[in-house]
Symmetry: C2
Subunit: 346 residues, 2 copies
């Protein structure tokens, strides 16, 4: 079923016209991803659209089983129900799928991968590799060096999540809802249950577990799975804020061995994919407006927890469409290619 | 020096033309505060302005020592440096001052009062009674029933603070900066170091203590002072969000005796000044757009802490200009009048 020894020459981007799909296309081109053929796949509605890739025009194909006939590797960003329907069939046809959706992440057969954190996990894949939820990815990448150095016991996180996390419609809602509010006009939101303009909404996703939302429980379950450690206890509060792009997180950790802010700063700075931006006196810390369009996870406000003897507090911002989604998926694809190339070569 | 036995017949509102001063004027009128004479005092720049009060025109007077000659009680909302300069002199002239500024809050001679929490503290005043910082007031009112029932050990709070906390200029900045951003135009912010439109800024105030800001340390010091309990440990992260009015707070507490969400909900509901709005399945929880113009502290998302065995998480929103400032100050004034009236009557 799986083409273990093939190189991934024929690539498909599924959900190619969405917010994340657009970035995946750009990243594959910018990073000169090694490929021979590329397909852009989307819903029937977007099929026929012509998109440019590396100077050539590519016509978007509808998401049908036969589209995967000659596809080695698909990078997919679709709603959960779409991912549930098409992925098993694509895998059966021999396609490896890197999936951005939430549908397969917690499946025990599916590795959930952040390349800087648990690259080894992709080895065990059975055709699906999942990319974590955006709010989880940036947090877990930040937590990784702390966990390695001092063992995490507890994580308390409050998020400040951008509307781009709700897709293109989310971004439209913020823009149009804000303009309407400034004009004292009415606006019917497409994606948000409550107005997001000049408001914060302490709910992302639906009620899932004991008063926690689905978005919050993703931050719990996915963190444990990626670290392969069920002993870490995570308490999240996920909040939508009127920011176009980039999620921010206020994080407090308790570690088995006490970490000083100075040691944590060094650990963060030495981790690939993390940029430390931390000088409160100079009013320097990560903010959405500075992190937009960047692939790294930015960390600042690193300080001792005033409420415990083994805690550390910090602030973490990342472009949720990039490292939180598109970049992480493309990095998984690159990792897969690198490992397969090494395998074929040996 | 103090006129212990007088009724407070002659009232002054200092900073009467500011965001909080305007609300104080409205509240005194709406709540039919018992007074015989009222003065509105402001900076030289605003002096001469005519304002309505209870159907009469009142001319704003400049802030000069002699303005307090015949004032029994002043409610003041000014910057710290102004409060430092004028209050001792006004007190020496026999005026009791309820001060909204940060200048006198931590002075051991000055009671720091939330009427629902520590009304008894006003008895010891020597002429100044301080009203806490807005982010502290709503949190401490929320914490009060939990502390009484189960004793607080630890509080971890991340705030989502509105621009109205930075005064009228803060509100202007948000409105104009947002419109400029939508128009792809430039805008020079008056009060914010970084653009607040479609952004979050993880700094309120200046660097104060070990990487914490002045706003954060207010939440630490003032909480301990109001509860009169130095054993509570507080770790705050204060963040400005692009919301016009009403501060939101994601709060996690650890208590000596474990509190279930059901018990906490009952405790909150039984506390005057608190409104519980908590039904996640029905997408009901406090949000700035609903709490604007209200005097209560609103609590929702009440749930067990997933990261400890004796923790509780919840979400708290309040109108920072009202309960966070004007309402609390007027309530202190009402308490003072009530106690004095009782004293005179007995």
């Amino acid at each position: 079923m799986r083409r273990d020894s093939v190189l991934y020459r024929s690539i498909a981007v599924v959900g190619a016209t969405g917010a994340v799909g657009t970035l995946i296309r750009n990243l594959l081109e910018e990073r000169s991803f090694p490929l021979e053929r590329i397909k852009f796949v989307a819903s029937q509605r977007s099929a026929g659209t012509k998109l440019m890739f590396a100077g050539r025009e590519v016509t978007v194909e509808p998401l049908e089983p036969k589209v995967f006939d000659d596809v080695d590797l698909a990078i997919a960003s679709t709603p959960d129900d779409v991912a549930e329907a098409f992925i098993p069939q694509a895998v059966q046809q021999g396609t490896v799928v890197i999936d951005e959706s939430g549908r397969w992440r917690m499946d025990p057969r599916v590795p959930l991968v952040i390349p800087e954190v648990n690259p080894e996990a992709i080895a065990g894949n059975e055709g699906i590799i999942a990319s974590p939820n955006c709010s989880t990815t940036q947090m877990v990448l930040a937590l990784k060096p702390l966990h390695d150095a001092a063992r995490l016991r507890r994580v308390i996180v409050s998020t400040y999540q951008a509307t781009s996390g709700a897709g293109l419609a989310g971004s439209r809602d913020l823009q149009r809802g804000t303009q309407a509010h400034l004009d004292s006009a009415d606006y019917d939101y497409e994606t948000f249950t409550h107005p997001i303009a000049f408001n914060v909404i302490p709910q992302i996703g639906s009620e899932k577990h004991q008063g926690y939302t689905s978005e919050e429980m993703k931050m719990v379950y996915e963190t444990l799975k990626i670290f392969g450690d069920d002993s870490i206890r995570v308490c999240p509060t996920c909040v939508r804020v009127p920011v176009s792009n980039c999620h921010s997180e206020s994080i407090l950790v308790e570690t088995e061995r006490k970490l000083s802010p100075a040691e944590a700063r060094e650990l963060f700075a030495a981790t690939p994919g993390i940029v430390v931006d931390d000088d409160l006196e100079a009013a320097q810390y990560p903010m959405p407006i500075h992190c937009h369009g960047r692939d790294e996870v930015f960390i600042g406000r690193i300080r001792e927890d005033l409420s415990s003897d083994h805690g550390l507090a910090f602030w973490c911002v990342s472009d949720n469409l990039r490292k939180g989604a598109a970049t992480n998926a493309v990095q998984i694809a690159e990792l897969l290619v690198r490992q397969t190339t090494q395998h074929v070569g040996s």
